[in-house]
Symmetry: C2
Subunit: 524 residues, 2 copies
């Protein structure tokens, strides 16, 4: 049984920018497939389907890919390089995944052509040193090493697949200009990370006039996939894996137009179905720190299906408590002239840290609570939906009292900060002198950074344990034959201590490509 449907895509300009195959509702029934479906099993969905329960398959492909985001499409493109049949199954009626909603930043370095063209020196080792330092104790060093070694190739791959970059650098902490494609997207210039490696900008993004780089990126990749003969179908929900007697994954059971169908995966199944940020019960169970954040972020399909299907066949899952927490103090960067304090009035992070590191510190180490303190010299008036004014006062003492901070706590913190700020210094966190100014001019203001109220986009980063070929690892440590995972469905170098914008897409592409290439070549 061969699957021969080719992909059709339609683009529109709306929010759901990438429409899927218009004829997809009839997809499986239109295929040259035994129309008489096997009796639909009544078994609980938690049990993987066993091969012996299947009389015949409704369709087949060499590599079956669950999810049409960056990871899934990258897997499909790579699989097609080896001329095998690659079938992408997307649950919703649009392809592109969460990546298409993003800024489209991809974290790359080690001396990419764009870095070189713009005069920034970098090396694989330098990139590795920064990433390991920024990632902290959970850093998967072997994976970071492989990611860095493959970074230039990944840049070339993106360009070969139609992604365009402008030869322009932006010095802003978040790119707000249409014509720039390279910037410092992490903590490269922030203490203490700037001491671990020579800072180099590694955030690469397609130039866009409205920060919709993700749309450009995914449009290019989807077009390339279509040209390469990738089969994509939308509105098909993958429900269960099909497992052979030896534990190998040999296919999937899907629901298409209300009917259960079984699709044989001759070489393997790639789970690229996103994370679980929109599954409140999983979120509360694994990562209550994320469940209290105000803005779960990602496509509505981020329900953890891919992770759970993997775990149902004994796959290991790692870092399920971790998520990427964005606390967007900037832009504008003037906010960083203030100080951020906890409920004891203490500073706890350099204020010019990447907003993902700021979010991590507040979410995981400060019980989700903090304040931004500024004085009247700072030109900062965040939109009300972002941060609300918690208090304002004519003295720090009065502000401290209004915020119910411990007696003298904020006063002493500000006193210490001001003493050295006069000289452009910050002994405690060595904030960049660019953002250092004493807090002396009343009125003083405190903005509430409580993550339940502040604008705080958050995604999960925990997922299935995989090796460097993106093969899924069983809890006992052996490979589950035929099963791959990539993107947010897999645990990766994307951690709660977020290295920098572009890591999530960068990893999705990296792991997706490896999954597709490995599955395409494997002998079964």
């Amino acid at each position: 049984m061969r699957f021969t449907l080719s992909m059709r895509m339609e683009f529109d300009g709306g929010d759901d920018l990438i429409s899927g195959n218009a004829t997809r509702r009839d997809f499986l029934r239109k295929m040259s497939v035994a129309a008489s479906a096997a009796a639909i099993t009544g078994a609980a969905s938690s049990q993987p389907l066993r091969q012996r329960e299947i009389k015949n398959w409704d369709a087949s492909a060499d590599v079956v890919i669950v999810g049409a985001g960056a990871a899934g499409i990258a897997a499909a493109i790579e699989a097609r390089r080896y001329r095998v049949k690659a079938l992408v199954l997307e649950k919703f009626d649009v392809a592109g995944g969460t990546s298409s909603l993003s800024g489209g930043v991809c974290y790359m370095g080690g001396g990419t052509p764009l870095q070189q063209a713009l005069g920034f020196a970098d090396s694989t080792e330098n990139m590795y040193n920064y990433m390991v330092a920024a990632a902290g104790i959970h850093a998967p060093r072997d994976r970071i090493q492989a990611y860095c070694e493959g970074s230039q190739e990944q840049f070339d791959w993106l360009v070969a697949n139609g992604v365009r970059y402008a030869q322009k650098f932006s010095a802003e902490k978040e790119v707000s200009r249409a014509d720039a494609s390279l910037y410092y997207s992490g903590c490269e210039k922030v203490f203490p990370y700037r001491d671990n490696a020579r800072p180099a900008p590694r955030g690469h993004l397609p130039p866009t006039d409205d920060l919709t780089g993700g749309r450009s990126l995914m449009r290019a990749l989807l077009t390339s996939a279509a040209n390469l003969g990738v089969a994509l179908t939308t509105n098909v929900s993958v429900e269960r894996l099909v497992q052979a007697g030896d534990g190998a994954v040999i296919g999937v059971e899907v629901i298409d137009n209300g009917e259960r169908r079984r699709i044989r995966a001759r070489n393997g199944v790639v789970l690229a179905a996103g994370g679980f940020i929109h599954n409140p019960s999983m979120l509360q169970r694994y990562a209550p720190e994320l469940n209290r954040c105000s803005a779960p972020w990602g496509r509505a399909g981020d329900l953890g299906m891919g992770i759970r299907m993997g775990m149902s066949v004994g796959a290991n899952a790692l870092r399920m408590n971790q998520g990427f927490v964005i606390l967007p103090l900037y832009p504008p960067e003037d906010a960083l002239k203030g100080i951020v304090v906890n409920l004891n009035g203490q500073r706890f992070v350099p204020e010019d840290a990447y907003y993902g590191l700021m979010g991590y510190e507040i979410a995981y180490r400060q019980d989700g609570r903090a304040f931004l303190i500024i004085d009247a010299t700072t030109d900062y008036a965040p939109q009300d939906y972002r941060f609300k004014l918690a208090a304002h006062a004519d003295s720090i003492a009065a502000l401290e009292a209004a915020l119910k901070l411990p007696t003298e706590s904020l006063q002493r913190t500000v006193d210490y900060y001001n003493r050295f700020a006069q000289a452009g210094q910050d002994p405690l966190y060595q904030k960049s002198p660019h953002y250092i100014a004493p807090l002396i001019k009343p009125p003083f203001k405190a903005y509430d950074l409580d993550l339940t109220r502040a604008f705080c986009p958050v995604v999960t980063v925990g997922g299935l344990h995989t090796n460097l070929n993106s093969q899924v690892i069983h809890v006992e440590g052996d490979i589950i034959p035929g099963l791959y995972a990539a993107g947010r469905t897999a645990a990766s170098t994307v951690l709660a201590r977020y290295i920098g914008s572009g890591m999530s897409i960068g990893e999705a592409l990296f792991a997706g490509r490896r999954a597709g290439a490995h599955a395409a070549q494997i002998k079964r």
Copy 2:
């Protein structure tokens, strides 16, 4: 096929205090069992054994319990109340588990007879309020509620099974007197928890002259189990679960004396095999924060086998990153007159916090690093193996420099602390006045609380997701029929934010009893 071997126990006075059945090496072969074992399967250990692969069983029981620690023995005792066959399989040659190595504290309250006899008022609601506050955001409220409601019954159960308590209270933070059985074992009197509930002592322990209450406790329970007809065998390693076609767990495969055997569990299998603190690869993968701590604690069998066997059949695992980190500043309590600071010279915890909370803060929120600062008025000289002197100096400024803390950071912290300490106050953390004294008399000393070097016993607390009957829950949310988990094999109310000494044994008994009772009564 009935299992009829009765338990024999031998006690000795050595470290491995509770020897198992002396004849256990021949256990399975001595049973009235088909001696001709089925051909031993060569399948990878990661796959559960399927019912259809089994020609015949080598033995059977109604409830098969993996592990002879507090959880397993409690399960067995409860199962015997319903007159079903309960078989406990212990991997090592001694029973008692990690509980027998502990102080034997059990966290109980709500008005136990001992609390009442010693004049301490408590209630279920009061106990619940404290526990929820101390546990923080990961608190499983329904489970805490059930635990509190069952606490008095658990006390009665312990007494009925031969555990003795002395009618004496100790005001020390760690019981060091032989004749006391009740003390404040958590943060009940520590800010801010003392404001959430009226403090009541809930640490119940058998009186012993050498802090070996765990030995007394387990000796009593093992004796009771033997009297009740529980079958216990040692040196039998459970390797795999046996699963029916519908996913139900119906038995185990063991290795006994080098041979694989299959034991049918007519009603259910209880996994009570401890955590994974002695499995460095699991520890590094799930909980690197624990892997760097100096003293992994527990029986050598804490290799995660129970958790992995559960996950192999699709069970969910929760809080796998969490562990109980003990940083034993006290005794003596004089140490608490000092202050504990992080690498920025800031205080971050009330110094009189329970040492499990202190350990949590350092391990998870301070990257495993801190210092204890004392002055010459404090009579504190910890053994060299516990904490090493990091620096000493005649001024705080010199101490700060010696510790390489940021300029003026420690000086300002001490200045703030001293200013209010004069009046017995601590606005920042509201440490108990009993431990407040200004740090003014040189020489000043700093002890290194780096968890890689300081004496820091640590155990894992993450494990299988279970319901209130201790039934194991699949990642898809349904119950896995026939499978139970208790003790450190299960995720429970025992969290990295450790509520107080005695929670681990308390939970092991609570969940073990529920597992045994439910499995004994279930109709299969």
